[in-house]
Symmetry: C3
Subunit: 436 residues, 3 copies
């Protein structure tokens, strides 16, 4: 089957090394350490606040770092035979993405023709990779490492354009990035998934599910994301009481979201049992949805209401909407990113429009907030479709249907089932004997 | 069996959503962001030190947050079929508990009739949930989510009264909360466990034990608790050198405690082998026991002696006392919280009395320390018994004996054993053939 | 077999308790809290920078703490039946080692005859344990807890001498400790492994390998090490922009290293598949190799080149060099520490010589850098051989070949295989019936 040349032996090393070497050359040309002597960082208003001590934001950076590498990586390990890829390819994409993001975001903020790297910039570089990791969730199990590296380059490049437009042209507020990361990443990924639609998986795949231990590994990702989300939403907020507001709103939104996600999960499931898919994902929707207005004066109870609604919408999405997207629209969304990042991201954007209209943020414009949401969705859908068509070219080693959701096509996998197979062998042996 | 209506379909969603809506209304009435303009936070002397920068304590908060959600959650995943509940219900209880704790602790420190939320307050809210998570350990595997939500409300409410009494009326020292969190949480949970005694589990339960991988997951909890305990004991200490003292004392007490816990585990076990139950738990007793006097001038070697003794007591408790409590007193303590939190908590309280009597803390009174210990134990036992009787009402969906320690009664659990069952089926099949 | 008296019942508790009691006595004699009033901390130039606030370095300390206890501990859980020992003995050795390290490092920096403990000192104490944990990787699965405690004492003692020589006599730069921790720890461990060579394991051991879930646990260690390595390399750097430089260099070196490690892994493996051993280890080589010059002005692209090369060397080492070391030199390096710490550590030392020669660090001397590297390797090899011979004495309970790589010789291990064994039993049963 020539369309499925999944052997990565030369394809992947050449692409990976070529990308890295080009990246290093670009860094040699453009990247320098921030020495604190910059002047005119461009229009990014948030960028001025850490001149006091260049390490002030470092603990926040490390929290975000943990979300990117442990949070996203382990959240996707829920699949029974896809843990190596989930955490391993997550590491690969984020490690390349943060370098690419530094360049792509940096070219909008050149200082004497150079990108001056500081903690603020590496937080934003980590953020840019989050869009890719969200999209990765939509196509998890159905793509090759080379396809995903291509997605990383294109998605971060387009993200940087939209981010510049939203932050510097529209001057919209999106401190926790409900729109420019979560909604953008989700709809980009869904557009890619639409293009890569596999009719052969219409009736599911035996490996597209969890086992007990894989669900436990996924909870490591969930809980680290949940705990550090206040850092995600406040890392680039104005320092002091504004940053405190972003922390408190996120902390409370997430807490309320847990309650509604658990309640609705129990309500819609057989015999009122909780479903791990909901618990792993919908409990986080409150962090997504409160993102845009995290640093606004929405009052603690306002944040909790946003979290409550997000938990409900997200859980119902997993239960009722994901199957419809798959069967009716040809969108096979492996991790349900539409429910965790897509709808809650839009909810966050809408909440931001309302909050700005109500004057909860000094100097905001509801129209610009709406434009920012529309821009993020537009770039996501157009960019995702284009990227999807490039990824669909039959030269990137995409796996055939029967090898989807299975690490062993791209990884050396240890023989774990030895003992079972042995017992099976014994059984078969006895069977033969019996038949003889 | 009508007493065991374990279907949560309406019970749980209604209770959870009702609690959350009431909580949001109370937040709307009382909770505001701290704007730094407060005056007279009440008698809590620790509360003044972070006016410099409202985010100073944020890294400490995140360490405590990790202990609450990863630490406690994964520590309890040691049971072979109860990992979803351990980490999942831990998340549920802590997410609700921190909201409730903010309210209950806040009403003792109103400022213009409002609860002003800041990092210090959310650290304390996280602390208040720790009492519930400790008690959860005593009844793990034998209670329904609804029962546990009820325990959360009552335990945190009573905790807040005792905390106010100890800190503001008695003016006792308990910076690391050996008394007001650890001893209180443990004896509260043991009292509940006594009321919920199950004669049917007298001879154990096949699921009341670990498997290899569940012990590994539990070590994630252990190690995160162990590492971040210095933050737990120092988070609300006076800033500067007092806080440094609390960090160093806890760091050293825990290190010494590891040595004694390992030594005693090997000494009392068959052929000198180490027992994972001891390693997962008793290594942490040093953090509990040094809590009350963590910020006192007890000298580094004093902290190490406390840790050494705590590790010995805790390990011996697991080996010899837990079986006696179960068989003679009707206290079935699933996680052995008496050994990790109960006895080391009392040891911490006693060490505090001695340290204050020896003048290791300026302005302390040994009598008030003793009163604080007595108060914490009294509130725990009385509160725990009352709470236990309410939890025992046959309407909360408590599981029958045979479904204890099993996630599948409240969770959708993936079919993990497929392959084994298949091999079993093969074997049975061959057996039938053979018999035929 | 009297040479293999692996029963630890008295041996281990006596050694552990005796060591702890001696340690506590030494702490009682020498250790006090730092009260900020010290004068003349000795020649250690880095030690002056946190007088502003004694807690400034605390978040960095906690990152390093996580690397030591979660990072190293879980990285070694890749073996299928050795997870308890990996994470459990890691905890034991590090908990004792940090106490011993505080003493051994402290005697070089006495202040009025006392060791004044502060955050800087406990970071260094954690660092000193890293050498032991690296060496532990080389002998993993083939040593008893008592042997390893002996290694801990000796290795940290010798480390402290070499560290003093390198930092205070030679005044060489090694901010991220490529030489004094990584190269030292690796070659010390390899020398020990050489002395403890087991001809009986020449053809491998059935338990010397991973299973699917053990590889997943190991990735927890890998990712936490990877994320927090910028803290490791910058924790004791001069504050401000120098520290920022160390963070950025490490962040970028690690990102580039991921790309080359993945590329080379795919290139050298069967059908271009990725190998978990490479991903778990070689992705970290960039952090090791950039250590010595992390705080030097090597430019971002310089850091990336170092990472790129480190990832290549490390992966090739795992693939081609480790088998040769084992078969030709009698060095059985369980975790491949030569590839993760040994060669990248030397690369780091060499890079440091070049960088200093090129004037990238004010006040450095290339000759002193070279002397520091030679000193570290010399102390490692001589110290490792001596320690190995002491560890080889037949009284410390070393396991026989057939019990290597198996937790159950020193741990109570739960019966995990019950169900499989049961199905096997059924099969056998039917077989018997059939035969009858």
């Amino acid at each position: 089957m020539p369309a499925y040349a999944t052997n990565m032996r030369f394809k992947f090393p050449i692409v990976a090394l070529a990308l890295e070497i080009v990246t290093i050359i670009l860094f040699a040309l453009f990247a320098v350490y921030d020495d604190g002597k910059g002047h005119g960082h461009g229009a990014h208003s948030n960028e001025t606040h850490h001149e006091a001590n260049p390490m002030d934001l470092y603990p926040m950076f490390q929290d975000v770092h943990v979300m990117i590498f442990i949070g996203f990586g382990f959240l996707m390990t829920f699949l029974k035979r896809y843990g190596f890829s989930s955490v391993g390819i997550n590491l690969l994409l984020a490690a390349f993405g943060l370098q690419w993001g530094l360049l792509m975001q940096g070219i909008w903020h050149l200082d004497d023709g150079k990108i001056k790297i500081n903690i603020f910039k590496i937080i934003n570089a980590d953020f840019s990779t989050a869009t890719v990791l969200i999209s990765f969730g939509a196509v998890l199990g159905k793509t090759s490492p080379v396809q995903l590296l291509i997605m990383t380059i294109l998605e971060i490049t387009i993200f940087s354009i939209n981010e510049h437009l939203v932050a510097n042209v529209l001057k919209a507020n999106d401190v926790g990035a409900s729109m420019i990361i979560h909604a953008y990443g989700a709809y980009f990924g869904l557009a890619v998934a639409r293009v890569l639609y596999r009719p052969g998986l219409r009736n599911g795949h035996e490996n597209d599910g969890s086992v007990y231990h894989s669900d436990m590994f996924a909870m490591i990702g969930t809980v680290f994301l949940w705990m550090f989300w206040p850092s995600f939403n406040s890392a680039i907020a104005d320092p002091g009481y504004t940053q405190l507001t972003a922390v408190i709103n996120t902390y409370l939104s997430l807490a309320a979201c847990v309650m509604s996600a658990y309640a609705i999960s129990s309500l819609v499931e057989h015999k009122g049992k909780l479903d791990m898919v909901h618990i792993q994902n919908a409990t986080l929707a409150g962090g997504v949805a409160v993102g845009t207005c995290a640093d606004m004066n929405i009052e603690p109870f306002g944040a909790m209401l946003i979290g409550l609604v997000a938990g409900i919408i997200s859980t119902l999405g997993f239960k009722y909407l994901t199957p419809i997207l798959s069967s009716n629209l040809g969108i096979q969304d492996t991790c349900g990113v539409h429910n965790l990042h897509g709808m809650p991201g839009i909810l966050g954007g809408l909440a931001g429009i309302v909050a700005v209209a109500l004057g909860k943020k000094a100097g905001g414009s509801a129209a610009m907030q709406a434009a920012a949401l529309a821009s993020s969705l537009g770039f996501a859908l157009v960019g995702g479709f284009l990227t999807g068509f490039i990824m669909k070219l039959p030269i990137w080693g995409q796996p055939p249907d029967q090898n989807c959701f299975d690490d062993s096509i791209y990884w050396e996998v240890p023989e774990e089932e030895d003992e079972n197979e042995e017992s099976l062998a014994h059984a078969d042996h006895s069977k033969n004997k019996a038949e003889a």
